[in-house]
């Protein structure tokens, strides 16, 4: 829970849930486990608002509660962790992935679940069907059955999971340090039998009166569908495994060629459900199985597939390894090593872009050769002595390179000590990860600043849009419309356009930095779990 992480979490909470939740959330992040009274006392927020904020955080899985440390009977304590809140940054990526895999229906299901935290299947299906029906043409409606199918498919591939069922009465719950994960329940991925027949309802017009009536109807429409109390949430780990597989496949495609990446994709797909998330490599697959499971559009002969597999094994990046000879050769995908290579490539690219290709040469040299003296660095890298010295000292100042002293005499006299330069991949990756968090926080800050600066302009344009819409709905003449449009001057239009571009750019930059964050986080977690 570093300072940068807390700052970023605060910004994300503020954007998505508002300032009150931000206050409570950051206080919990900084302070560890606290009970309700302390939270109220220290944040100064009134009781009901604190309760509502905690509800919001619990609903989204960001906060967990357990009975107090002093044993049963003491007030419940609330605890948040950064991980869950930082996932908010990745929501667009989750939604986009589901869209590519399962189409619009899947996309909307995931979007609803991400917005609400957890929901029952029936309510999700109804809401999504309604939204889809909104966008469809007149006369067409989305059938609940289709949406349920999409939901079941998502559950089958483990992208959705049941939330931990709430235990009735916390004092009876055992005092455990970690709440039970959803996976520890056997029914985690079982779709309940649900009686839900019908179609999506289209909202015909957006008059306020209609809205009120619809809202009332929704409240009275709470028929039992057979799945009460079973809430579903998005399984982030599964998405992360998917992203990791995608990263490995694209790296193979970049380094080798398309066919090799297809083979690796097949191997990863076959081991999706058999490999545990923390495994260092997939289960061994025989060449026969791989050949049979290749997509039929690639009709490659069997010996060619064998050749590709041998080439993958021989590649210095070691994406694929050979685990035995039975069945025509048993192959595994080295997940941990692939992640380490990708993290290393990330570090090298940061050094290259920031300090130039010669410094990148020195950095890669040190990564390969581990410990080198200054003279040796100059000789191997073929860079003149003065420049090499300068670059090494810059990298040292930025803490990307470390110095190891080996004394010849016990008094560490400088003339009688060896000074060796070295690069440690794991600590450097952690440092860069913190830099990424700071960068994203900076980008969000800038975006908020830009919107604040141009608030007046944005409000004006919104008002004008609303007027235009109402005029159009009530069937006004073209002259009135143009009159209203001219209320915005040309320069203001330009400014608005520029503002829109800026905000889009900042948004997309956040997503790009999130990709780096994902690679570095996966590498750090994978190393931590294997060591």
């Amino acid at each position: 829970m570093t300072a940068q992480e807390v700052r970023l979490c605060g910004l994300l909470l503020r954007e998505h849930f508002g300032e009150v939740v931000e206050k409570v959330g950051t206080h919990l992040l900084r302070g560890g486990a606290q009970n309700l009274r302390i939270i109220i006392h220290e944040t100064g927020v009134p009781l009901d608002l604190v309760k509502k904020s905690l509800c919001v955080l619990v609903q989204h899985g960001a906060c967990v509660f357990s009975s107090g440390r002093k044993g049963a009977g003491s007030p419940t304590e609330y605890r948040t962790s950064c991980d869950r809140i930082l996932r908010i940054l990745r929501y667009p990526r989750y939604i986009y992935t589901t869209k590519t895999l399962y189409g619009d229906t899947g996309e909307l299901i995931i979007e609803e679940l991400l917005q609400r935290g957890h929901m029952t299947m029936s309510s999700t299906v109804k809401t999504v069907a309604d939204r889809l029906t909104q966008n469809m043409e007149e006369g067409l409606c989305m059938d609940y059955g289709e949406v349920s199918n999409a939901f079941s498919k998502l559950v089958e591939t483990h992208f959705l999971q049941r939330s931990t069922p709430a235990t009735p009465g916390t004092p009876a719950a055992p005092v455990s340090t970690a709440p039970p994960s959803p996976e520890s329940f056997p029914d985690c991925y079982k779709v309940p039998h649900m009686t839900l027949v019908g179609r999506g309802k289209r909202q015909l017009c957006s008059e306020d009166g209609e809205d009120q009536r619809n809202a009332k109807r929704a409240k009275m429409d709470s028929q039992a569908h057979g799945d009460e109390g079973i809430c579903w949430q998005v399984n982030f780990e599964r998405f992360h495994l998917h992203f990791r597989d995608q990263a490995i496949i694209s790296a193979v495609a970049n380094k080798l060629d398309q066919t090799s990446s297809e083979i690796v994709r097949t191997m990863l797909r076959m081991s999706e459900v058999t490999t545990s998330p923390t495994a260092t490599c997939t289960k061994p697959l025989s060449a026969n199985e791989i050949f049979r499971s290749l997509p039929p559009s690639y009709n490659i002969a069997r010996p060619i597939v064998d050749q590709y597999l041998t080439l993958l094994v021989d590649d210095p990046m070691e994406f694929v390894g050979k685990a035995g000879e039975s069945g025509g050769g048993m192959y595994v995908v080295n997940l941990h090593r692939a992640l380490a290579n990708l993290a290393r490539a990330t570090l090298e690219s940061v050094v290259q872009e920031r300090f130039g290709s010669r410094s990148a040469r020195i950095f890669r040299l040190l990564l390969r050769k581990r410990h080198l003296e200054q003279k040796q660095v100059e000789d191997f890298a073929m860079i003149p002595a003065k420049e090499a010295k300068d670059m090494l000292y810059t990298l040292l100042a930025q803490n990307l390179v470390q110095l190891q002293e080996i004394p010849k005499t016990p008094d560490f006299a400088p003339s009688r000590t060896f000074y060796l330069y070295t690069v440690n991949q794991l600590p450097t990756a952690r440092m860069l990860l913190q830099n990424c968090y700071k960068t994203v926080a900076n980008l969000i800050e800038r975006r908020l600043f830009e919107s604040r600066e141009n608030k007046r302009l944005l409000e004006k344009s919104q008002r004008i849009e609303a007027i235009l819409a109402s005029l159009q709905a009530s069937g006004a003449e073209p002259e009135q419309l143009t009159e209203v449009e001219e209320m915005i001057t040309a320069t203001e239009k330009q400014q608005l356009e520029a503002l829109r571009l800026h905000i889009n750019k900042l948004d997309s930059a956040e997503n790009q930095v999130d990709e780096s964050i994902f690679l570095l986080e996966s590498y750090i977690n994978s190393t931590a779990s294997t060591s």
Binding site: A251, D257, N435, Q512
Partner: protein, 316 residues
């Protein structure tokens, strides 16, 4: 009296005889003769006399005194060398000998002082003298630019002093290295592309995209961009820098002795490769490249809200 005179005459005669005898022995055994050998040859010679004769020959510059593990050795000195040094005195001869012993690598003036036990001023005077006589020369070392090493005039300085092919006049030729770098990379890249275009089975493709270090060396020699002759080791150092640039990978295979370019039964193969990932997301934002990243805080002088780099980047 006459007996004494006789003895002295015999002594004088003996001395000349002994000298000649010793010289003959030296010529017979060019590696050098020890005291033992002289004693065996002339058993009647007293050690004192022997020492006197040897000292005389040494001072005349006709004999060389060496020491080996078993004792002292006397060797016939090159008369030509002796002729050169006729005009110099003992100290100069000593310094000259010390420099000669240093051979290819040359010797620093402080080391000359240690070995000859002469004071600094004397050594400097002698060195200047010898330089003017064109017997020795000073070569600037590439390792420490202020250091001068002395070696015999007609010797070629060793690689470690001049730096080898990459240094010309004690200056590291970085443009030369860059040009070689690019040429090697282009050669390997075109080979890899040709291999991909050939559309054969993947194994053949990969093997044909490899080039041995010998092939690269031949290509560079034929290109003729180098004024200096480059050896295969030099080319391998250049190829190593390409590996550290991440553009090339290397593998070693066993090769038959005698095939061109094989060293100790192995050959090094090099191959151009593509990058594994695109430049990472962090460096596409101004923060990833910002020189004042550490100083940036909200509400400070440097903050994201007022960042100049961001403003430029947004308007791009």
């Amino acid at each position: 009296m006459s007996e004494v005179k006789l003895k002295r005459e015999t002594n004088v005669l003996d001395v000349v005889e002994v000298e000649n005898r010793i010289k003959e022995l030296c010529q017979q055994l060019p590696h050098g003769i020890t005291d033992q050998v002289i004693q065996n040859d002339m058993p009647h010679l007293e050690p004192q006399q022997r020492a006197m004769v040897i000292n005389k020959l040494l001072s005349l510059g006709q004999l060389d005194l060496l020491r080996n593990s078993s004792g002292l050795l006397y060797r016939m000195k090159d008369t030509q060398g002796a002729g050169k040094m006729k005009g110099s005195d003992n100290q100069e001869k000593l310094v000259y000998q010390v420099i000669e012993d240093a051979g290819n690598k040359g010797i620093w003036s402080r080391d000359i002082r240690f070995k000859s036990n002469l004071p600094l001023t004397e050594v400097n005077k002698i060195l200047k003298n010898l330089e003017s006589k064109k017997l020795i020369k000073a070569v600037k070392s590439v390792a420490a630019s202020k250091k001068k090493v002395y070696m015999l005039y007609n010797l070629q300085p060793d690689r470690s002093v001049t730096g080898g092919a990459w240094y010309s006049d004690q200056d590291f030729e970085s443009e030369f290295v860059e040009v070689l770098n690019q040429q090697c990379f282009k050669f390997l890249q075109s080979k890899a592309e040709a291999a991909i275009d050939s559309k054969q089975s993947p194994m053949v493709q990969r093997n044909s995209s490899f080039a041995t270090s010998h092939e690269v060396w031949k290509y560079i020699c034929e290109l003729g961009i180098s004024k200096v002759d480059l050896s295969m080791d030099d080319i391998e150092t250049i190829l190593n820098t390409l590996i550290y640039d991440g553009k090339v990978e290397m593998s070693v295979i066993a090769a038959k002795e005698g095939t061109a370019g094989s060293v100790d039964g192995q050959m090094k193969l090099y191959r151009g490769v593509n990058a594994v990932i695109q430049p990472t997301g962090l460096v596409r934002t101004p923060c990833g490249l910002c020189p004042v990243f550490e100083d940036c805080h909200d509400g400070g002088e440097i903050s994201p809200s007022h960042c100049v780099y961001m403003a430029e980047w947004l308007d791009f």
